[in-house]
Symmetry: C2
Subunit: 207 residues, 2 copies
Amino acid sequence: MRTKILSGYEESSIAVNAVILTIKDGELLVYLNSREKEPYKNLSELPGGLLRKLESAEQTLSRKIKDIFGKKNVFLKQFYSFTKPNRDPRGRVVSIGFIALISPDKVANFDNFQRIGTLPKLAFDHKEIIEKALEYLKENLDNQIVKEFMPPYFPLNGLQTVHEIIGKKKLDNRNFRKKIISSGTIRKVTMIQKNVPHRPAVLYRFI
Amino acid sequence: MRTKILSGYEESSIAVNAVILTIKDGELLVYLNSREKEPYKNLSELPGGLLRKLESAEQTLSRKIKDIFGKKNVFLKQFYSFTKPNRDPRGRVVSIGFIALISPDKVANFDNFQRIGTLPKLAFDHKEIIEKALEYLKENLDNQIVKEFMPPYFPLNGLQTVHEIIGKKKLDNRNFRKKIISSGTIRKVTMIQKNVPHRPAVLYRFI
């Protein structure tokens, strides 16, 4: 039971929304659903939902992610909470934004994934949520976030491509190699590429 | 008016809490208030408060920060939202956590600042909020967050000290210099230290 101390303030519903990203054919893709109900009926939206009683945001999100991807382990990171008072026409709803990154080799079906570059009109402030997620990713490129997009072993140019797609700019090969190797986040492995039509590249893994 | 779509879910109050940090005499300090009311009367707590109608989290926080520091410009960064259902005994309250970093030369009064290493028992989950903030800072050391702790011009060893305090470990001078210079985030300035009892150091600024 709520005491008087907290009365006089507006009550709110709490939602989570997930920006689920993958990379395919050199493009960043985001997972969207089509809304079946008003408001914004038939527009695309990010997956998500409201927190139930006794649920933390992380628990709500795990439940939603399981609905979409089954039991697969998905990397989830809270990146920002969206609190503008009028972001939902139904009443005050705060949405806690999460980023989920999925390596394309773990995606069974790309039907709901759409290219970031050519998004349709979205429900609520979901366009803003996606933009903020991309900004967050870009700011955190030096961290191990990109790791989640990568297979366990990868050549350096594969990693560079992911950095280029997220950072939205071409990088200089030599500088990238120098910087990433000196960052101490990756390590060379004693394996080489197989079945490639060029000289096999040295493979790395994240430490 | 809230429609039926959102009924059946628990209503919540939304709060903000700020982890306001500064560095003094080689130690990380956090700003704490003493609670004047139950629950947790007389325990220390992070500054913060509930969102008013038509306020975003950022607006609530700016209001609170202005109460504490006057009109000073303070760097604020949302880092995590705390949503455990029972974190507040008065009812469901979600708290949106912000980090504020203040250079010690902008702090007029250190009375409310306490050393991170020797914190008293705190109200609510505020200890957890502080721990999460420190974890966030540590993960983001490579970003420009530390910039906010620094004066406009600084020698490299001053920057190294801040990294060491946040990262909680001694760093190797040569490696630190090499890494920070190659990161492209700082630039040498054509000024040298004055009035120091040793050979004046080269000064840098953030780009």
